[in-house]
Symmetry: C2
Amino acid sequence: MRFLPDELEIEAGEGESILELAARVGITLRGACGGNGTCGRCLVVLRKGAVRDRDGGTVAEAGATVRACRSYPVGAVVVEVPETSRLREHQVLGADVGLTLQAGEEAAEVPVDPLLCRVEVTVDLPETGEVVDDWGRLQSELAGLAGIEVRADLEVLRELPAVLRAEGGAVTVDLAMDGGPAGSVVGVQAGHAAGPVYGAAVDLGTTTVVVELVELDTGRTVGTRGTYNRQAAYGDDVISRIIHAVERSGGRRQLQDAVVETVNGLLVELRLAHGIARDAVRVVVCAGNPTMSHLFLGVDPAHIRLEPYTPAANFWPPCRADEIGLAVHPRAPVHLLPGVASYLGGDVTGGVTACGFGGAGEITLFMDIGTNGEMVLGDGNWLVGCSCSAGPAFEGSGISCGMRATDGAIEQLGVTPDGYEVVYRTIGGGRPVGVCGSGLIAALAVLCCAGVIDRTGRYRTDLETPRLRGRDAGGGFVLAWAAETGHGEDIVLTGSDVQNLLRAKAAVYAGLRNMLAAVGLEQDAIGRILIAGGFGRFLPLRDAITVGMLPDVPLERYGYVGNSSLRGARAALLSGRRLAEIGATARKTTYLELGDGTQFMNEFVSALFIPHTDLGLFPSVREE
Amino acid sequence: MRFLPDELEIEAGEGESILELAARVGITLRGACGGNGTCGRCLVVLRKGAVRDRDGGTVAEAGATVRACRSYPVGAVVVEVPETSRLREHQVLGADVGLTLQAGEEAAEVPVDPLLCRVEVTVDLPETGEVVDDWGRLQSELAGLAGIEVRADLEVLRELPAVLRAEGGAVTVDLAMDGGPAGSVVGVQAGHAAGPVYGAAVDLGTTTVVVELVELDTGRTVGTRGTYNRQAAYGDDVISRIIHAVERSGGRRQLQDAVVETVNGLLVELRLAHGIARDAVRVVVCAGNPTMSHLFLGVDPAHIRLEPYTPAANFWPPCRADEIGLAVHPRAPVHLLPGVASYLGGDVTGGVTACGFGGAGEITLFMDIGTNGEMVLGDGNWLVGCSCSAGPAFEGSGISCGMRATDGAIEQLGVTPDGYEVVYRTIGGGRPVGVCGSGLIAALAVLCCAGVIDRTGRYRTDLETPRLRGRDAGGGFVLAWAAETGHGEDIVLTGSDVQNLLRAKAAVYAGLRNMLAAVGLEQDAIGRILIAGGFGRFLPLRDAITVGMLPDVPLERYGYVGNSSLRGARAALLSGRRLAEIGATARKTTYLELGDGTQFMNEFVSALFIPHTDLGLFPSVREE
């Protein structure tokens, strides 16, 4: 099996699809449906040989364009992977690095009690007549220093006698803390000339994965890198990945390998760029949603998507890097931030805690809107959280012209009041090829304000502009003409795109209304709204209020907190106390299962208007 | 490389001696000197091919008899291993099984709080609207049951969702305790039909290794097996093994493999004999002297033999079976009993604790005499311990006619008062081939009483008996004539044998005198003397007092406690509290380093008489 133009070869195993083979050689194909053969995004061109379908039927031959997920090589096969079928890695990388570096700077905390400290001690070597064991002496030295009970790793004891004596008792000790009353010696080196020790904070996102490498004794960020999660080949959202993990033989392992390899790739890049040895990275903290956490650890995720939506665990035992194959010191402890429920995970609890949520008793709303809209409301003493399936519309999926926030995406637009002409700005400034989440919110707002769509989201039929092509499924509004675009085709927002966006924004707002109702508060009681995540960064706040997605409170109450998941992981890395606080946040948060509850459905239906059936909730929109 | 008559073949590696190759194919050769080429016990006959010495010189050819430890194959080689060069496994096996079964019966305790319990619980599966994670629910169920904090193994969490639902919430949980306030779930199976769970108590002896398999919920001993420690190929005593581990490249690993394979062999035999699956053995407790503990865990033992004799650790962190390759459940916790100092280990602390030492405040002396004589004196509140290098004389090494306590060993003897005729009893009742430890003590006593040797251990020259062949090195006293013996040669106790025995018994008694002096007590204050270990079983107490090895107190104060090392391991296996008590014993024991101290040397020299220079110490002997 050979892939062009990459010139990569691989031996095909029994029953491996071309999609799986591509993933194994490192080519990440698009695969919104998770390899179910329905999204048609993983197309490849067969150049040599033949392929069959899974049951051995329908053979395609050289020259045919086939879905990689449904095609199995017959003998020696060569395929060409067109650019359009690939996840374009360099683009998201650029975007995310900017984003996360900013977050890193904001959060630049000084390490207080990092999860791993490198300590230099000098132990008196025993003299004649002294009855003392090497470990006992080191242990009491460290216990005096750290004020805690200290355990040893067997690996450390194995070489301790020689290490202790190599430099006359001077040793450098790596002490792993677990946020509790005990620590573990996970490494001992002779002498005091060991270099600095590093930790990795990892944001395990469904779509992108970001790694921040931190020098543990200073808290300095050495570097941050992000890329697409290689699991994307198995589906765009958590549900399709769970299905792949559960229903395909070996699927759980494939997904674990994919995300671990993604993290490892970033770790290696960062280490090489900064000349850091693998063994110098000695602790890892990961923050991810529950599905990502399960898959990263190789835990059965089946019941996350089955009623009553039960995760295997919310709190994870720390494990060792070599148990999951992370490319850091093999005995580095790996912590995962704890979650609350199947759809409210460590990315949120970490973010909420690291953002100084509810400081001074102010009622605060934390929103992380991606495929799921995760929200936490509270004043720090009480916390209520929920997750609403906004669907992938804001990430560009399920929208005919949708795309991620990468080069060529329309991220902002306006409509001229006279002739319905469209002005827009693309990411990177080049020709548009689609519309990303923020552009979609803006389009919805301006088309509604301009009267192109009514409050129910239907296109009007009586406007005199060639851009409007009618309200039926095939119709829509042309945002950019073929002549202007990068791919030479019109960029059209169809009527069903608008309905999808409406459902997405309604889900978010209905979730918020449910939370407010659960605690008996009105939206104006919210003193502060923290917007987190990649989508939030470019979110046009005013437009999002106009369409009724965000609550209509003064704009100055809104703040953007960047990649709060990474911030949470970083905060825990640098402070065991913070890790314990994140645990407390997870325990304290009351999860509101929206599911198909009547109350949620009522709120949802009421929110399927622009901005809402109850205009009283959006006074500033009414005034416009 | 081919071994006859076993017909075993092996590919010789670079620089591997025939001794090492034999160990690899499972043939355990005798090797008192640790492969140094000095003891001449590992002789093999070269049948085909040639061998060279280590430096490539001195080539021996077919027909020659060579020392396996000094011979390296040149090309294809066939050797024959005579019976006399082998450790005879079946014999020690028989002897030890008898011994340890007896000990097992004596100690038949009911499990109180075993280190691992198999618990059947039924967890309510979450219903719609319930926000709870699988592990959280199981955790609180177990915490309620056990009254402790319960952690999970990542491995367990991985399959937990499916396991929990397979039988409607009914699961069988393996809960490992560490004697502290926390436990770990190390296994979960669906349903309540899991069979019993087992633990292994292991006596890691320098010479022999014994494994006792115990059903954990009843405390029933399923079976006990013992065999020679395969490390014997690398030396008879701990010192030669430490030298091998430290000075040979890969030596430490060889010794670890040898003892782990020895334990694994016994485990497999026991499991097959009783139809127990590997994974049903879920916890292991080992008791060994410090050298054996270091080597078993693969820890650098170098400083045990270098002044000031410092072990890497006295207290060992529990490890997992797969970390050292034990053939039980891969995640079974493996505990090693804690020691006190380099020559006072977990075999003694476990033995002392399990024997109910110092009950009712009685001053008790615990003695385990093998190559080292380990002693602990105290009343339970205070404890003082020491170790004296008795040397391997009592185990038959360093004595020309010496042998271990196996078939054909003279274990008891007397001399007729008239004509110096010898009557004896052999183990197994057959023809004698040597004398074991108890026989040697008896010989010393009767030869002294009969006036054949004087109080300084010299043979008299004026006796009219053909058995006495003079007092010089080549001379000695014939205990059995060639016509009576199994090998057709005279069994002779030479003058230097007597001196070796004298030094061995003097070391033991001098150690005891030192301990008594350290706490300001006379020997008559000792209310109870507990004799432990294989040698102790057949020890003729009266003779041992007569020669001045054991203190001259009324015989009824003596008791035999069997394989107390195994008893200690077993007691810990069945009770976390016992494990904690053994730790307390280890911490409480003050170690007396005898070393080359003047006081010890004085006592030693005074004890180089039969029974002693100070006859006042042996009133009952004086009266004889």
